[in-house]
């Protein structure tokens, strides 16, 4: 009763013992008029709901607090998510993340295709036919991967062009540009190794010409071509080599370089568009470098 703290005291019962009944029982209840009493009850119910909501929110807050205490991720995420982007950031700046998204789409559709694809010179073509004809949504996923590669090449060149014309490769972002050009070269290498895999006429001959282009370099060229083909003739191991390079080697390199690229973008910030000039603030003391 009185020993219980205010919020835990149950309404209605303890009051009876405290406040003696007044009046004749008609029009008064618990020492208040009936209307006032009902208003008071409403307010109490609302206060109860607020308390329950606060208690419920405690659950995810404490869960996140548990993870944050053990990983220190809070400050990092706050810094990454709530960092400021310069004034004037517009839709041109979305090309980079659009390219990364196209890459993720290719990776996911690639994983599903790899569950049905057979990388042998004899069975490759028929396994793709099987994907197209028999597997549920097979042709759709295959089409997404095939057209996704063209979309990704377009986006990566568009992103590079945007960075070039905005002058965003200059100080202090030179290293980011270099990582980006390497990513461009790796993307073209993915396209080259990938389109051998269906093993139809176009794939086969385009790859023959591509490998022979490598062979045209003086002295080392033929050895590079032998490495790609796995021998002096286009043979059984060539398809496996291209499959391994396309599935494992280059995506690993691309993922690592995208990580480095994003780190530099977050650390250095994106440039402001070249048509904006900062207004000179009179109070320069407030600047931080």
């Amino acid at each position: 009763m009185k020993l219980l703290p205010g919020p835990l005291r149950r309404r209605g019962r303890d009051e009876d013992e405290e406040t003696p009944r007044r009046g004749n029982g008609n029009g008064w209840r618990n020492g208040r008029t009936v209307e006032a009493d009902e208003d008071a009850k409403e307010r109490e119910k609302q206060a109860d709901r607020e308390r329950m909501k606060a208690a419920a929110l405690e659950v995810p807050i404490q869960a996140l607090g548990y993870v944050d205490e053990r990983t220190g991720a809070g400050p990092f995420l706050r810094g990454f998510l709530f960092r400021k982007v310069p004034k004037g950031t517009n839709w041109f700046y979305t090309l980079g993340s659009a390219t990364m998204f196209a890459f993720i789409s290719q990776a996911v559709t690639g994983v599903f295709l790899a569950m049905y694809y057979r990388p042998s010179a004899v069975e490759a073509y028929s396994s793709i036919q099987h994907i197209n004809d028999d597997v549920f949504l097979g042709q759709f996923v295959h089409g997404m991967h095939k057209w996704g590669s063209s979309v990704m090449v377009i986006l990566v060149f568009a992103h590079m062009g945007r960075v070039f014309f905005f002058g965003a490769y200059k100080y202090p972002r030179e290293l980011n540009w270099i990582i980006g050009v390497v990513l461009l070269i790796l993307t073209m290498a993915m396209a080259f190794t990938g389109y051998l895999l269906p093993f139809d006429q176009r794939s086969f001959w385009a790859t023959v010409v591509g490998v022979n282009i490598n062979a045209s370099g003086p002295l080392l060229g033929p050895y590079l071509a032998d490495f790609l083909r796995g021998g002096s003739e286009f043979g059984a191991t060539t398809l496996s080599r291209f499959y391994s390079i396309h599935m494992l080697l280059i995506p690993g390199l691309i993922a690592a370089l995208i990580g480095a690229h994003l780190y530099l973008v977050a650390k250095l910030g994106t440039t402001a568009p070249f048509w904006l000039r900062a207004e000179k603030k009179r109070d320069l003391a407030r600047e931080e470098i």
């Binding site: 982007v85 004034k87 979305t94 295959h142 910030g269 900062a278």
Partner: protein, 236 residues
Amino acid sequence: MNKTQKERYLREYYILKDQGKPFFPYAVLKDSVMAAIVLLVIIVMSIVLGAELGPKADPTTTTYTPRPEWYFFFLFELLRVIKPPALVFIATIGVPTICMVLLILLPFFDRNPERHPLRRPIATIAGITTIAAMAYLTIEGALAGPPTQIELKTAPQFESGKNVMASSGCLGCHRVGENGNAGPGPALTHVAGRLPRQAIARTLVNPTAPMPSYSRLQERNPKQFNELVDYLGSLK
């Protein structure tokens, strides 16, 4: 950029950054919309264009015309226009390697602190020229047809002669309209304006090297030979 220029850039940059908005949710919203658009485009392309396979790989073919994917057409066209054999490795390895090296080293030889395109004319013009050249080579590469097909429109009575020409290997050295190769022989699109019919027939039988002689065709199949001469005589 020297130290003053770097500091001036950083000062200006941090003012503009301070006046900006938080990455989440403003930039993330634009990125998400763009990602959704990209996904939609890929899905629509997959549904509308499908993913049909061509015929199975056949290394024994002699009739197939190999072509690369469209994003390599500019390299393909470069290989077609660089004809002298001694320059082949420049087109295959030299030019692409030089371009890649120039791209990677761009921030090191472009030290101009200006970022506005109109205030750095060399970079802007170089960029636009490169894009235009690649676009032109890509389109030309896409239009390059196989050497056994003539697309030039012709009157119906010359159709058979056109077919004889297409299957006789002429397009290997001559251009007719959009088809064929620009060498070692001259373009034949308007040959009838330069040579009368008799001269055309004489050249076919008794050509200047390295053109082969079609006298055997005249002996074995005079009808086809005459159709060929008639067709060539119609190319004014």
